[in-house]
């Protein structure tokens, strides 16, 4: 792998990380802690929305984030020819 390729690969990885970790922060610390009282004014069935994010929603989003990252990185590894399928 050439030097510019290496840089490009790593930059792209860092971009994925910053986007995904922003979402990670917003659903847990944002919706579940900092904005919980504001969101609680909205209701979905028996759940207040902030309470739901704190006790259920954030966990579901965490799972989705990891599998999205797995997909993105598997594609990126292939594009740069550094995947492990050889």
């Amino acid at each position: 792998m050439s030097k510019p390729d290496r840089r490009h690969y790593w930059r792209t990885n860092l971009r994925y990380l910053s986007i995904l970790l922003t979402i990670w922060f917003v659903v847990s610390y944002g919706f579940g802690i900092l904005l919980v009282d504001q969101l609680d004014t909205v209701r979905i069935g028996g759940f207040k929305l902030g309470f739901w994010f704190a006790q259920q929603g954030s966990i579901y989003v965490f799972i989705v984030l990891i599998f999205v990252y797995v997909r993105l990185m598997n594609r990126l590894d292939k594009r740069f020819g550094v995947d492990e399928s050889e």
């Binding site: 792998m1 290496r6 690969y9 790593w10 990885n13 990380l17 995904l20 970790l21 990670w24 847990s28 610390y29 579940g32 802690i33 900092l34 919980v36 609680d40 979905i44 069935g45 028996g46 759940f47 207040k48 309470f51 739901w52 704190a54 006790q55 259920q56 954030s58 966990i59 579901y60 965490f62 799972i63 984030l65 990891i66 599998f67 990252y69 797995v70 990185m73 598997n74 590894d77 020819g81 550094v82 995947d83 492990e84 050889e86």
Partner: protein, 568 residues
């Protein structure tokens, strides 16, 4: 069959299963002993990680705590799951690419320093011993409550089982036993939860059930009913918080980062064959953990509602059987203060005096009895709690034995030791660790509960920053790493010892730094570690070229197979 006969049968069957699996998968080389030969399928590794991670505390205590804390209990739910996102995105793939066996291996090699390695080993040992003592105690408690075995004998039986498969099987034996233990524990957790959800709301999925209307035809939502009951009896509203926002923020962060820094969790990602597998394995681990962690808040709400409706203002003579049974163990205490012969269970805001004290730990164990579920379900919970405690204990014992045989002996004290003797040393270390853990289980030091906060705080404030900096910056050098780790440990440890050990009477919000409780201080310790490590590294000379090339290498997946020089 009565509850006890069912319990003996189910616990006996599950133990036979674990031993069978252990014999089938015993380790023959150090590679198999430390990291299962790095050949574990990512989904199975995810399952084993989940069992490793979910301890007696997750299984027995967590839902009970949430049930009494209400919304504030979310710190555990988010804190103990969000860490897996950090693991999957920031740690697992790179540590797997690095290869080797342990966290101190990485710290020692990346920071080309024996001091850094030894600091890391000491932290790993401290964190693991703290944890394992609690697990052995949990085993003893389950035995004594459900099987009427003396608590010490319970610990001995638990030690025997763990000794057998951890010492014989190493990581390979533990991994496959943990897969079996996960199946037992999740089945044992979900069955009563689904039963209770159906009974109370008519919805089978507990995750949906606790947001549904009650099955009694009133059309009232369960959580609204619970909020109403709580207010009426003088408790705080279940779905609102009591703790300060900043404190909740810091506790959640300390638990998340602590999870990502725990050596027995990190080491699991060395056992998969590829970097891509390490990423997806963390995802599967979280799927399996979430199955329990999204059920727990539902169980908490059901248990709380049941508790408030079944005992409040009931004549003591007519109190349900479970109430008097648990009174015998001292975990429920009732005192008829106003002498009316009835039970008054009230919160601090009520003008009627509260007459009942309930230990949160009983909520999960007593829940099936409270909801009058069949005997085999009650017995199943005991088998599940044992699976949770044993699987975590085994994972921790392995970290302890690896730290001693590999990090201390092979890498520091006696580098010329051959594979055969290193394997013997690892088995002896595991054996000794089982005995020490058993000792703590029988004679629990009074500080076990307090030091759990310390274990998470220290993991957050010591390992996490130096591993992240080791991967994402090339400039961080040995001076920065050692200074950062020491700052994090001394600050966090000092703060916790100050409030939990030396001056417990000062342990209230007005004395805390910025209103942060000792449980959350690890987050600040982590931030300090980052700042010190970066600053000191900038002021001293950069790491050697070889180390910088190593950092370049671990950022790219290809070649992970070869990096693992363990074919024995």
């Amino acid at each position: 069959m009565n509850v006890q006969a069912w319990t003996f049968t189910l616990v006996g069957l599950s133990f036979a299963l674990y031993i069978g699996v252990a014999i089938w998968s015993r380790a023959r080389s150090t590679g198999e002993f430390y990291v299962a030969g790095a050949k574990v399928h990512p989904v199975l590794n995810g399952m084993a990680t989940a069992a490793d991670w979910m301890s007696a505390a997750s299984f027995i205590s967590m839902a009970g705590l949430i049930s009494f804390m209400g919304r504030d209990g979310s710190v555990y739910l988010m804190g103990w799951t969000g860490g897996y996102v950090l693991l999957a995105l920031l740690l697992a793939p790179y540590l797997r690419k690095f290869g080797k066996f342990t966290v101190p291996d990485f710290v020692g090699d990346r920071y080309y320093s024996r001091v850094a390695r030894v600091v890391a080993v000491v932290c790993a040992l401290f964190v693991s011993f703290t944890y394992v003592a609690g697990q052995m105690r949990g085993v003893g408690i389950v035995f004594s409550r459900f099987l009427n075995v003396d608590i010490n004998h319970g610990v001995f039986i638990g030690m025997g089982i763990v000794f057998f498969y951890a010492v014989l099987g190493g990581m390979k034996g533990i991994t496959y036993t943990q897969v079996a233990q996960y199946c037992v524990l999740i089945f044992a957790y979900l069955v009563p939860a689904i039963f209770i959800s159906l009974l109370m709301t008519g919805v089978a999925l507990p995750q949906l059930g606790f947001g549904s209307t009650l099955a009694d035809g009133s059309g009232v939502y369960l959580l609204d009913k619970l909020d109403g009951l709580s207010r009426e009896l003088g408790f705080h509203e279940y779905t609102s918080g009591q703790k300060g926002t900043l404190d909740v923020f810091f506790i959640t962060a300390a638990l998340m980062v602590g999870t990502a820094g725990l050596p027995h969790v990190i080491v699991r990602f060395y056992t998969v064959p590829k970097v891509a597998a390490a990423r997806s394995s963390a995802g599967w681990a979280l799927v399996f953990i979430a199955l329990l962690y999204t059920t727990a808040p539902a169980v908490a709400a059901f248990a709380r509602t049941n508790l408030l409706t079944t005992i409040e203002d009931v004549p003591y003579r007519e109190a349900p059987g479970w109430f008097t049974n648990w009174e015998l163990t001292g975990l429920i205490e009732y005192q008829d203060l106003n002498g009316d012969g009835r039970v008054q269970y009230r919160g601090p805001a009520s003008d009627v005096a509260n007459e009942v004290a309930i230990d949160p730990d009983i909520m999960v164990l007593a829940n099936p009895e409270i909801a009058r579920l069949p005997n085999w379900v009650v017995a199943l919970v005991a088998a599940g709690a044992l699976a949770a405690a044993l699987s975590t204990a085994a994972g921790l014992l392995l970290v302890i034995s690896t730290s001693i045989a590999h990090d201390l002996l092979k890498r520091t004290l006696k580098p010329d030791i051959d594979e055969k003797h290193e394997l013997i040393a690892a088995r002896v270390a595991a054996g000794v660790a089982v005995i020490v853990a058993g000792h703590f289980g029988i004679h629990p030091p009074g500080f076990v509960a307090q030091v759990v906060a310390l274990a998470f705080g220290l993991a957050a404030a010591s390992f996490f920053p130096v591993i992240i900096l080791g991967i994402f910056t090339k400039r961080t050098n040995t001076y920065g790493a050692v200074a950062g780790m020491l700052t994090g440990i001394v600050f966090t440890g000092g703060y916790i010892v100050w409030f939990k050990g030396l001056y417990p009477e000062l342990n209230t919000a007005e004395h805390w730094l910025l209103g942060i409780s000792p449980e959350g201080i690890g987050t600040l310790g982590m931030v300090l570690n980052f700042i010190v490590a970066i600053t000191v590294s900038r002021l001293t000379r950069p790491p050697p070229d070889a180390v910088q090339r190593m950092v370049e290498e671990i950022r790219v997946p290809r070649g992970a197979g070869e990096a693992h020089e363990i074919r024995a």
